[in-house]
């Protein structure tokens, strides 16, 4: 019973004033009664190690690696016992949002997606890590790649740490390049070269259906960066959805919709809602190029071990940005309602240390966000990492904008893209509308947060 009533108190400490709490019903009585009758009592021994709950979003092999790391931490830190629970799957990240809304969060979680960090941080449901970092003599601006350090800092405070990162690049099929008269050792650099390669690699059957297509541009939220665009200007605090660069990025994407049958292309490429199946178009030679990330290596190994493939960074137009990438991924955070923040920090500090990051990133073949690990010979000996690490460290690596409404804006971007690519709408009009709507939404949400 002890444990139950204790958790009740901590819930009461949360700011859960729903108007209801003014009622004089004894909440504790209701809960204890129900808890006793339905769930039984949980026992906790006072002298044992302090138990902290950690939510992870990784699955499969990556989950196993996490499990080993946690086991190692528990072995070496007898005063703390980390219980790892996984929240992976389609609804995993949804559950995290609901947990925040419901005030029932664990002590540490790596299930916050970079896109959501600002929304949580600005709603004060995360614990800022600055004082912990300072007491542990850590400085994110010196340890992390610059883009990553910017990404985890919201309003001047650090709200999360990362252990892995991935890069946007384009994978291409070497055999198809050779067959179509392209030099696989000199893949496209500019947008024009990409367009011409895509044209050359596209083939139709006698009735005009695709046998193979060259390239399908998708994800406007990413493509604005090589075009020199962005979504948000942090200096002026304005959304820049319809900037000229963004418009030219969407116009470029729309040029594919004019040349090719997008719907057919999409049906071709998104079998089962995802390209990562053995008959994903890239693995069976139905597309020459595919926009992807470091994870591609594992998929090729699993689905098309014979495939000869190469990579090149996102092509850019004249005046655009070379070697651009977006940054995202899972972020480790300590929720504000954490019951054992010191122990949570000890765990988080250990998980984001050089050795743990090195083990984790190498096992799952992700880019290490820590500069010291990225310089490690282990990673420098790998050709793909030698290619992607400089992109990650470069000036054109962009994390999600620190906007409280970013997830909403991002899904609106996706819809805007669809209405151009599949609905044939005009890019300028669509982006102007997006700009208006997202500015309104941002103003509304900001008013809610600071009424």
């Amino acid at each position: 019973m002890l444990d139950t009533s204790k958790s009740v108190e901590s819930v009461a400490h949360n700011k859960s004033s729903d108007g209801l709490s003014r009622l004089k019903v004894s909440r504790r009585a209701v809960i204890s009664l129900a808890a006793a009758s339905l769930t039984g009592c949980r026992r906790s021994s006072r002298r044992g190690p302090i138990e902290i709950v950690y939510w992870t979003g990784w699955s499969g092999h990556e989950l196993d690696v996490q499990r080993n790391l946690v086991a190692k931490f528990n072995r070496t830190h007898p005063h703390i016992r980390v219980v790892m629970l996984s929240q992976f799957g389609n609804s995993g990240y949804e559950k995290v949002r609901i947990a925040f809304a419901g005030g029932s969060t664990p002590d540490v979680m790596s299930t916050v997606w970079a896109d959501e960090l600002a929304a949580y941080a600005m709603r004060d449901v995360l614990r800022p890590l600055d004082s912990y970092l300072k007491s542990s003599h850590r400085d994110v601006t010196k340890e992390y790649m610059p883009g990553i350090a910017r990404m985890i800092t919201i309003g001047g405070r650090v709200f999360g740490l990362t252990v892995s990162s991935s890069t946007n690049f384009i994978a291409f099929n070497r055999a198809i390049f050779e067959e179509c008269g392209l030099d696989p050792d000199h893949p496209p650099v500019s947008i024009e070269q990409l367009d011409s390669a895509a044209r050359k690699c596209t083939a139709y059957d006698s009735s005009g259906n695709f046998i193979r297509y060259g390239f399908r541009p998708a994800d406007l939220s990413m493509w604005v960066y090589p075009f020199g665009g962005s979504w948000y200007d942090e200096q002026t605090g304005t959304i820049t959805a319809n900037s000229p660069q963004n418009v030219s990025a969407l116009k470029w994407m729309a040029s594919y919709a004019q040349q090719y049958n997008m719907r057919q292309m999409q049906a071709f490429s998104t079998t089962f809602g995802s390209s990562s199946t053995p008959n994903g178009p890239f693995y069976v030679g139905k597309t020459a190029m595919e926009s992807t990330g470091e994870w591609e290596r594992a998929f090729v190994k699993r689905y098309a071990p014979q495939l000869k493939w190469g990579w090149f960074s996102l092509p850019y137009p004249a005046g655009g940005r070379q070697r651009a990438t977006t940054l995202d991924g899972s972020i480790f955070v300590i929720p504000a309602a954490c019951k054992h923040p010191d122990e949570a920090w000890e765990f988080l500090n250990w998980m984001t240390s050089h050795d743990a990051v090195k083990t984790f990133c190498w096992s799952i073949k992700n880019v290490p966000p820590l500069l010291s690990v990225s310089r490690d010979p282990l990673f420098q000996s790998d050709p793909l990492f030698r290619f992607t690490i400089p992109i990650q460290q470069g000036p054109a690596a962009f994390g999600p904008p620190p906007l409280v409404t970013w997830t909403m804006l991002k899904s609106a971007i996706g819809r805007a893209e669809d209405s151009v690519m599949l609905g044939g709408e005009d890019p300028v009009r669509v982006l102007n509308r997006l700009q208006d709507e997202s500015v309104r939404q941002l103003r509304r949400t900001m008013e809610e947060l600071h009424p």
Binding site: R97, T407, E448
Partner: protein
């Protein structure tokens, strides 16, 4: 025994027996109903306390949220096109199964099973069946000579019909209720109709349908409510896509509430839905006087 004492005791017992539900109604229906009405006039993110903003949510909903209208249209599409088809299919199958022949239990089980299959499992299964390239449905259609079968869930024009098709597979719930009511159709009436020279269709039209019309009404109302709350299939299979073709009202509402933390706005949407449901239900009841016959009312 004293009558007033008995009536007092009856009242006490009546309230006592019904008290769990009365308590449940107050806690989980009456209070939430009023609370959500209040939230609908607030901006509320479930993390900080709600604060009153008047009709703002309703104004944005009706004038600025294009997805609101889209989701409303998608939901009405299901109600107008999907619901009648599935009601008719359920009745047809119920009639087919209402026979005393060997093995009927097995048939009934097979026909009923899809409706009790976990929605998550059946959604996943149908994503597979509906796959444009390797799905069973398109493979069969191609086998039957169709050269260009639809892309189903990846085509905005076919995504809703695909979900209706999947719904047809799971008509068992309505079917069972029809089946039960068919067993109550007075045999004497059917025999009398036969003697009068009525054919199968005439008997169906003039005897069976009137006798089961209350059940048709029941299934219609329940189906309408179910359609307005259509959620899990879209959440699991399409998450609203392609091009918002399966962004249904309940899904949009859920996303606004639990993805965007716009609980106040979602409450406004919920109340709007409640009003629409109420209007539809009243409209159906109004017209029902013309086509629903209650036994004992007249013959």
């Amino acid at each position: 025994m004293n009558t007033s004492m008995k009536s007092k005791r009856d009242t006490l017992n009546g309230v006592l027996f019904a008290s769990p539900w009365i308590l449940g109604f107050l806690t989980f229906v009456a209070y939430p109903l009023l609370a959500s009405l209040y939230y609908s006039f607030c901006s509320y993110d479930a993390i900080s306390p709600p604060h009153f903003i008047g009709l703002e949510n309703y104004r944005i909903m009706l004038t600025q949220d294009s997805l609101f209208w889209k989701s409303l249209w998608n939901t009405l599409y299901m109600a107008v096109f999907g619901l009648p088809v599935s009601l008719a299919a359920a009745l047809g199958i119920a009639i087919l199964l209402n026979q005393r022949i060997r093995g009927i239990a097995i048939y009934r089980t097979i026909y009923f099973l899809p409706s009790i299959t976990p929605v998550v499992a059946s959604s996943v299964l149908w994503m597979w069946l509906l796959n444009p390239q390797v799905g069973l449905i398109n493979t069969s259609l191609k086998g039957l000579g169709m050269t260009n079968p639809p892309d189903w869930l990846s085509d905005p024009a076919w995504a809703k019909p695909a979900l209706i098709l999947m719904g047809l597979w799971a008509v068992g719930g309505g079917m069972v209720i029809y089946l039960a009511s068919l067993q109550d159709v007075p045999v004497s009436l059917l025999e009398a109709a036969s003697l009068d020279g009525a054919g199968t269709w005439a008997k169906f039209r003039h005897v069976t349908v009137p006798s089961i019309s209350p059940v048709i009404l029941f299934n219609l109302i329940m189906g309408l409510i179910g359609t307005f709350q259509y959620f899990t299939q879209a959440y699991v299979m399409t998450n609203g896509g392609p091009q918002d073709a399966t962004m249904f009202y309940a899904l949009h509402l859920f996303n606004r509430a639990f993805q965007d933390f716009e609980m106040g706005y979602a409450s406004a949407m919920a109340w709007f839905l409640f009003v629409i449901t109420l209007i539809c239900a009243i409209a159906v009841f109004r017209t029902s006087a013309r086509w629903v016959y209650y036994a004992g009312e007249s013959s």
